[in-house]
Symmetry: C2
Subunit: 352 residues, 2 copies
Amino acid sequence: MSDDPVRSADSTPEVMTNKQPGPDAIMQLGLAFWGSKALLSAVELDLFTTLARGPLTGEMLTAKLGLQPRGTTDWLDALVSLGMLKRAGDQYANSPATDLYLDRAKPTYLGGMLEMANARLYSFWGSLTEGLRTGRPQNEAKTGGDFFAALYRDQARLRQFLHAMTGLSMGAAAAIAEKFPWDRYHTVIDIGAAEGCVPAQLTLRHPHLTGGGFDLPAAGPAFEDYVASHGLTSRLRFYPGDFFTDPLPRADVLVMGHILHDWSLEQKLALLRQAHQALPDGGALIVYDAIIDDDRTTNIFGLLMSLNMLIETPAGFDYTAADCRSWMADIGFRDTYAEPLPGPDSMVVGIK
Amino acid sequence: MSDDPVRSADSTPEVMTNKQPGPDAIMQLGLAFWGSKALLSAVELDLFTTLARGPLTGEMLTAKLGLQPRGTTDWLDALVSLGMLKRAGDQYANSPATDLYLDRAKPTYLGGMLEMANARLYSFWGSLTEGLRTGRPQNEAKTGGDFFAALYRDQARLRQFLHAMTGLSMGAAAAIAEKFPWDRYHTVIDIGAAEGCVPAQLTLRHPHLTGGGFDLPAAGPAFEDYVASHGLTSRLRFYPGDFFTDPLPRADVLVMGHILHDWSLEQKLALLRQAHQALPDGGALIVYDAIIDDDRTTNIFGLLMSLNMLIETPAGFDYTAADCRSWMADIGFRDTYAEPLPGPDSMVVGIK
């Protein structure tokens, strides 16, 4: 914008002045799906896994990834501008973060969530307006499908998915290992454990802890393998079951991460009651999610994750720490508190 | 991340340390389409036009916009967190910028571009991977359609589109009115003028200038109306024609904004040659676009706009100022220079 107001004698409201807010933030947000999709296609095309073996020129990448020259240089340079790649001379290389998290060959890979976003969520979010108008999910359920039922029937895909969940839980798991007074407890079980990322992190960090993970029976083999690969088989056990129909296993501490937001208020309360019943007096429930700030104004990711529950579930929604603490108090937890975790996640702790 | 590295005796690469980069920037970019689509649906649902008449509660908005309560509060609060709405008590209101640019009733409305992004580009970008693999457009052309041909056949839709282009050009037009030495010239014609936003801004600001706009004949009525509404009919004339087959009208200064990037290199050079021929000695061509920085590393929007040309055109691409200046020099412009404009745009000037 120029320094002087752009006005003349016959000025109209369409003549811009420097006193008006600019339209840039609106346009950037409205077209933010461009950069998002550039990254999602990069994960789909194995760009970061390919570059993890060493830097390559645009020409070599075009050949290796089976692309056409048209568009490829713009795509690579856009990823440089977005901080996802580095470029030195004519060679492209991964950034430290994309090398760590988006190389399929590394155990730290968390591209699974982005693969799912690319293959499913991007197009389902295209029907957000319909979701707001109907209040109904916009995923496979619209055409009679059931993503999760199909997923749990296919061990290979299920394992990929459960491993993606490990990527998403790692930061929270490491922080919970530090922030919670584990010296006061002996056993911990993760409810909806997937591969067992959380109990593995907790028991690796705190050698006095034992426990396990509770999940649908189909998750068992992935849990057993993951726990064995960390040398924790003697300390962590898999508990098969369905948390709506089976009682939860007993432990000093239960953890529910990225679970509660999938469900309706009634189901959330039922899960919290189940946990309360399974805990001893003095035991603790740790809930973590992309918990929305109490004022519902700053945690962008938490609020959008709740909209994602509209897209993906019949009645799920995310919630504030105040919401969760009042549900816990109503059910009978005698003390509750909330604490932030890395990224958009927070934990709410309830003491029985 | 905790302050201490999270390591234990049997640590594995999966145990996170605080020395590693976090995954947040990757996840935020990969899921940025969530916030983008929340805004695009808001434009589609006339949220900002509705709120321009005064603040409303979530309940009133749910009723007025024909929505279901489920999801709507999360959507509104997500738009608050993204800076697109304000909330005081239980009342939602537009931000100053969304009130100015996304209220359909205001002449400053530029939601037209976002309407097009919502109705067309969001889903076409879903095929970016196919675009990179084939080098071919991913819009209506894939199924034998032609968006622009259909648009130019429908006066009502064409007028909406041309008005959206006015919104997109307004910031650049105001800046070009300030930054260019207009006192040295008497006539200016905008090539691909749409409604005539640029010549209108230039002649409003500089009373000695006359000129007009060149565009396909179907744009004539929108141009004439817009120019008349600014009281400029006696100073600005519409020149109908096709810039690939008809000679360009003569003027001291020609402007080409958001035009050159639509075309192949050969077509770009043909357009620059046409302009060179139509200018007098000492005349100037002003080209503006979301011009990419010469190093191709910082103008995210310019690089992604170039990818958008892959999605939308058979051979278009965006370019750096250095590219454009060298094309101009090759064609015979004796002097060239580049200057930034507001937002992602820059202009390149060639003097004959």
